[in-house]
Structures are given as C-alpha cells and as structure tokens.
Symmetry: D2
Subunit: 261 residues, 4 copies
C-alpha cells in the first residue's frame, strides 16, 4: 500500500511541502571566473492539493542531484518546472543559500584577499507557469556614527554592520553588482587583508563619511529606485553598535511583494 | 548640533527603524500561576518620515525599562502607543521572543517536569491607531512515519519535530491553549520526565498514531479553521527525520496577512 | 526486563553520560537584589562503570526539578553529590549556562538600564568527593584600535568585542565582580541606555584609551594574577573588527586545568 | 610609529593571538575524486612573547591566500611552519572547519545522493617544531532505543543523532574511514535519498539493532582502541530524543590530550 498516494478527505490543501536544510555543494555563476564552487543550504517545496495525502520526499533530492552542476538564477525556471512535473504539483518553490566569494584588493596596497557574502536565490512558479525570482545578498560594511562624531571632541564610535538586500528584477542581476552597490553606500567597505597604509585609508574614509543606519538604508534605496532593472526591493541595515550590546536596525521596502499564490 | 533632528532631503521614508536583539528579563502571563519570569530577545521599531534624518535610539530602551514589569499581549497596545508618542512616529512595531515554561506530568506516573516552548509576541500599530497582534509558539513534538510503518515488517522510523504556529485572534489567546492544540495533533507529545511505564505509553501511542508532516499540519489547520476566535493563522511542521540529515517540512497559511502599512 | 541495568561486557567505562540542552528556569544569586530569575540551558552527566549497560536518564531531570529554586555555585556541591547518589555514579558533572542581568547607569546622565551577560557555572565531583567549580562570564566591551589611531590623521576604527572569562577560585566569587574586572580593562565598557552626553563621554573615553585584543587580554590577566582568590583562569578576547568580516582574537590561560579524572 | 612592534612591559606572554571566523573556499582531499571544493571557517593563531606588544593580523590572511589551493592534513605542517616564520612566533595553531561530501547509494535501490559531514582539522606546532594534528568529523546517525523496544508491545522510539569523533593518528587518516567507522556502529546510518524499498530496509535494520548512546559510544571506542593507527581519540554521541525536548549524550576519551605548550 502506497500511503502517500491515498486520498485525503480533510479537504485542506497544503501551501508548501518538501525538504528543508539540505546541505549540498553547488556551482554558481561568477562574473570574473565563469563560475565558482560553494556549498548551499537548500529548501525545496511544492504545493499539495487537498485530495492527496502526501508528497514524494525522495524526488526532491533526486532532482537536485541531477541539476547540481548548473545551479543558478538562469536555471531556476528549469528546476522549478521540473519540480512541478516530477511531483505532480501546481506550484513549486526553492530557496538556495550559500556563501559567495569575490576577490578584492586592499584600497592602497592592492593586496589581494577574498571577501565572503552570504547569498540566497529564491524561486517560485505557480499554476500558470509564472516564475518569480528573488536574489538576496548580505554584505558586511563599516559605519561611523554621525552623532558621536558631531558631539565628541575627538573620535567617533564605529562598528561592523550587515546590509540585507533582496531584489526582484527584469533582467538577470549579478551578485557582484548588488554587492558593489551596497559597499559604495557604507561609511567604508570592509576587506579581508589590510596593510598599514590601507588601514589608514579606511579609517580616514570612514571618519570623513559618517552615516546612521537610516542614511545607509536610504542611500541604497535611492540607487535602487533609480535602477530601471529593479522591480522590487527590500533592504535592511543592522549595525553591531560598539557602544551597546544590542543592534541598530532600519529597513525600507519598495512596496508589496508580488504574490503568486 | 542635534544630527538626528536635522532635515533629510532624500525624500525617502523609512518603514522601520529602531533596536534589534536586546536581551531583557520580562514577566509574562501564566494561566496557572498568574505570571512567570523569563528572558526575552526584543526588537522595537518605528517608522521615520521622509523629512527626518534620524530616530532617537535611546528612547526605545528607556520605554522598555518602564514597561518591563507588565509585558504581555494585554499591554502591547499601551507599549505601541507609547512608542509612537515618545518617538513622534506614525507607526510602531515590537517583537518579543522568549521561552515559556509549562509544568507537565508524565502520562502514566504523573512525574512532574517543565516543558519549554519558544514564544513570540508581535505587535504593530499604524497611523490610525489600529493595532495588529500576532502570537507565536514553537512546540516540540514526536512523529511516527505512516509509510515506514506500512511497508516495514516491524518498527517505524520516528523523530522529534517542531511545530511553528502563528495566530491572529479576536479575544486574548493563551499560550497554553495554542500549545495544547498542537500537542494533541502530534503522533505523540513530548515530555521532560518519563519513567519506564511512561516510555512504554508514549512509544505505543506514537506507533498507533503515525502521521506525516502533511497530516499534522492539516490536523492543526482543521482545528484552527473551526475556532471562531482565530482570524488568521500560519502553521509549519518540521520533522528532524531520523533516516536523513535533512528535514521534512509542510506549511499552511489561512490567507493573506492583514497589512497595516 | 530492565535493559539499562543489564551487565555490559565490552569492558569500556564511559566518562560522561547524561542529558544535554535542557532549558529550565532557574534562580541565581544577585548581589544587589538577593537573587534574580533567569533561564538556563543545562547539561548533566555522570560516569558509567564498564560493567553497567546504561544510566537512568529520567533521574537527571527529576533531580533538577527538586533543586531548581536554589541553583547557585553555593549549592553545586549538593547537586553534584545528589547526582552521584541517585545515579550510583563515581563522578558527576553539571554545566548551567544563563543570561545574567545587572542594572547599570549611563556614565553621565545616570539613566538606568539592564546589561545582559552570558554566564556559565561548571561543577564536577570525583570519586573522592573533591569538587571542582568553574565560573564563566561573557562580557561585551568596546575596543579602539591603537594602530589605526596612531597612523590616521583623524578617527580610529573601533568595534564591539566579547571577553570570555573562566575562573577557578578559593572562596565564592560574584559574577558582578568578574564583570566589573573585565569592563574596567576595555577601551570603554558598553551600556544599554546612552543619552547624548553619555555618548560623548564613551566616545572620548574609548578614543583616549585605545587597546588591541592583546592589551585587553593582558590587562585582565594582570589583575587576575594579582588576585589571591583566583587559582586558575582562562581569558579570551574577541573583537568584531569593523574593518574586516572576520574577528581578532587573543587568549591567555594561567596554566594547566586541574583534572579530577 | 609601528605600535604593534613596540616593546611590552607587562611581562605576560599570550598563548594564542590571531584571526577567528574567517570564511574561505578551500580544496580538500577526497579519496574517490582526488579532491573536492568546499567552504571553510578558519581560525589561525600564534603565540606572542611577553616583550612584544602586538602581532601582525594581516599576515594570517596573506598566508592563507597563498596556501588556499592545497589545504589538507598533509600540508598542515607547512602552513604551521610558515605561520611561525612569517609571524616570528614560537608556536602556531590552525583550525579549519568545513562540510565534506561523500556520494552514498541508497541501500537497496542504489539511488545516488550526497551526504554532508562537518569536519575539522586542527594543527599545532611548538617551539621544537613538534607538530600535533587532530582530525574531527561529525556524523549524523539514526538510533533506536533498546529500552523502548523491550518494554513496548509494538514500536520503539528512535531519532537522529550526531557522533562527534576526534582522532590523533600515526599515519594520515581519511575522513571517509572515520565516517565509515561511525556509520557501521549506529542502529542504522542515514541517507540523502531513500526510495520505498530503501526505507523499509533502514526501518527494519534500525529496529533489529537498538542501541543507547552508551552502546554507540562504546562500540566506536572498541574499534578505535583496536586500531593501531589511532594514538588518541575523543568520541561523543548526542541523540535528539524523539520523546523529549532535550538530548541524551555520552562521551569517551582515550586519555589525556597531549599538550604541546
């Protein structure tokens, strides 16, 4: 007896059912190098009509195993449609979270190092085969407090922060471009390698460029609103305040999220 | 010069700005004991109009310090209105996450122990003073796989799972009632103390009552749909599958979230 | 048949066996207020002789349920000896991790707020009833980089850091004293509420007092070495560098840990 | 003025100083495929003599950038010696934590999938150039409770667990061999893909093979004690009990850790 295939009589459809927290090696697109190897945490779901008792959990991993070599925003439509087909579903949803690395040179000495950014691709497809894609990136930054600088005779408190940027877009968008947009709006961006002359540069740049979380989130929103390719965004800035044991946070969303359901 | 109070010319309002991740001791309502002491992680935000450069971060913690003795769903409207007043804001938002403890007796021996449930209260108020409250609870459960039981000559794989339940409601809702609803829909509920006769009971109860994540999420949805006090819900069930290193997941939402913005 | 009580023939004793990750409300000593309510994550283990097949897991939680009202370093010997007695063990070990709150006034305006510190008590007793106690605290601090200040024409990068301090001692030691020791060695300590004049104070204090992780860890070690009550310590300092996405770390241990086993 | 290079007068040597939590892509040895790409979190420390004020943090990342293509237990001695040389240190220490993937076929249908295991390499070198290497792996397993099976008329509670295995060894040891050793001692091992006939197999295998955490930790210790290549080990087993919201844990260590300091 195939329990999953039995009829269900509760008359309640399930929005999403599937697998969560599967760790898998993936290859993602990299503008400079063609592609890069990384490791993802993956969630894959489909809907389940009211009359079906259960989904087929093993098929998610089987599909992933097939698609692994070419996982990217560009192949997400294929994966989503395969999920619908193999699981006899009306809709499908996938979330892939992974660290992405970009080689970045120190600002004065040009010493090379790799910066890590946590990224997430989210894809959904509905019964009419409309596909919704979201690209997210978390970018570490440095912020210097304008109030602290203004009121103090010397110095200004500053700290590491994180920017959480989610976008919907018309044409393919590079992770590298989302990162660059965020980094140029910070008091200063951060690096993996800094020699003495670099450290002088980033200290002075930050101090000359003090910004609240409110300033950073607005400057990012300004750029995104001016970009015709961006159709929706949500941006949050979180500062790990060096004078508190809690964080400062600000977020702006460009409107309601489109809903496929 | 008060930098926060300067005029901003970017013409971009901020949806939420405030403090995040503040750990604070709080007292919450407890049906059997009047109240209980616990420790919360708190986020507090207000909106910021386009013409204001910055909010006043210290006022959030000052307000919290005043309200601490009586934090509950019942006082959330007060806190939210105070946040609006003290921060000259149009809207306010607060999220309070904490462990909640319920004394629970073992099913046969009645040995007493405490169960812990992670809870969250979320409150929002908008410019028209409409208040939106959400009560959330995470309930650990045990599930036995119906397919595994059906196809195997003996045994059935089972595992710990977690149910994530969020509700909106007309009248005040007790955490204890949300927990009880979830626990009676599991293959078996879990306990902190189980003696031998209790362990026999829960093993046999679970084996007699196999359920997929799909079954549990539907049985909870059925009860919530029948409850006139519940105006909205989202329920997710996550099973830490004992045969995999990833989880099974299913969720049902009763409709669109009401939006205050 | 009582499986746990069967004889084991593998001839391998188990160092520690018991329960891990039990969340429980506890009351701990508080110098100003007598005691305070908080929530702990608890691990409890005993040894298991080579001839015993299994321990009795339920007895750990039963014991904890009895002792809960008076959990402190002062009662740890009692708990440890009860664990040995109730579980027929030669040795016992307990770890209790919890947030501890201290009311702290802002440095200029004296605005009150609560600071949170993650603490851990570790206790062990061996077959000769020697008791070993360790008290740990994690203290958030602020550090200003001396190199950045020296080489830059203005400003200096600074950041939140965490100090991990573990001590063994002759007489009872207050969490409050461990926290105070750490806070006075930082570039500046951190607060939950800071008004404008406070923020000026902490900014200037930090800038006047730049310290590497190496300086902070040494200054703490200096104080601990001078304290006759401290018989052993380990101290680590971790700075969430505002110019990098990784942390700086330094640690000093006063010697070999005493071993009871 | 080079602040780090100044003389320090506190007369306190620092055990470890360096960088913590650096995320970096690495390549590790893979028995079947030669090597595999993964992503590591890396800590790198050296000692600091009492007369030196500070270390040179940027050199750690520069060194790592050079070594990245060939990071493995086999190259750890080189990296450690380079760390000593480039940082003018007496001792050096490195910890590299990463997910490692092994292709594993389902037990009946042979459906292929990837299993993920969290691994860590730890290396230290002292002033006499003695190198100490530790290889760690975390292996997810399934365990069935012998007591529950014995006392119940049908069924038995079971759950996912994790085995934490650390080893020191004479000759190079493969991650794949450490994983295989752990998996064969569980009630049943876990898989990423299981079809219906596979699920029947693993359910019945687990039920026929019930084991406490005490049994699993002993069976692993038995194998390690019999292996002439293993000079030291520590093994912990943690079961995410399906009948509780806390875990069962047992550990065995083969003796005192060798100390280089």
């Amino acid at each position: 007896k195939d329990v999953q295939n039995e009829r269900d009589y509760r008359n309640i459809a399930i929005n999403k059912v599937g697998i969560k927290g599967l760790r898998y090696p993936v290859t993602v697109l990299d503008r400079n190098n063609g592609h890069q190897h990384t490791v993802a945490s993956i969630n894959m779901y489909v809907d389940l009509p009211h009359e079906c008792k259960g989904t087929h959990m093993s098929r998610f991993v089987e599909l992933l195993h097939l698609f692994r070599p070419k996982l990217s925003l560009k192949t997400f439509s294929d994966i989503l449609n395969q999920m619908k087909a193999h699981l006899n579903a009306e809709s499908a949803h996938i979330e892939v979270t992974f660290p992405f690395f970009i080689e970045k040179q120190a600002p004065v000495t040009a010493s090379p190092g790799l910066m890590d950014y946590t990224c997430r691709f989210i894809g959904s497809v509905n019964s009419k085969s409309s596909v919704d894609l979201v690209s997210e990136v978390v970018v570490p930054i440095s912020s210097v407090c304008p109030c602290s600088k203004e009121i103090s005779d010397y110095g200004a408190h500053n700290q590491r922060g994180k920017v959480y940027l989610s976008t919907r877009f018309k044409k393919f968008i590079w992770i590298e471009d989302m990162v660059a947009l965020v980094e140029r709006t910070a008091s200063c961006d951060v690096y993996s390698v800094l020699k003495r002359s670099d450290e002088k540069y980033v200290t002075e740049k930050g101090f000359s460029n003090p910004k609240f979380v409110e300033d950073i989130v607005r400057d990012i929103a300004l750029e995104l609103k001016a970009d015709k390719n961006i159709t929706w965004f949500a941006v949050g800035v979180e500062n790990y305040e060096s004078i508190h044991n809690h964080n400062a946070y600000a977020c702006i969303t460009s409107g309601q999220e489109p809903s496929l359901l």
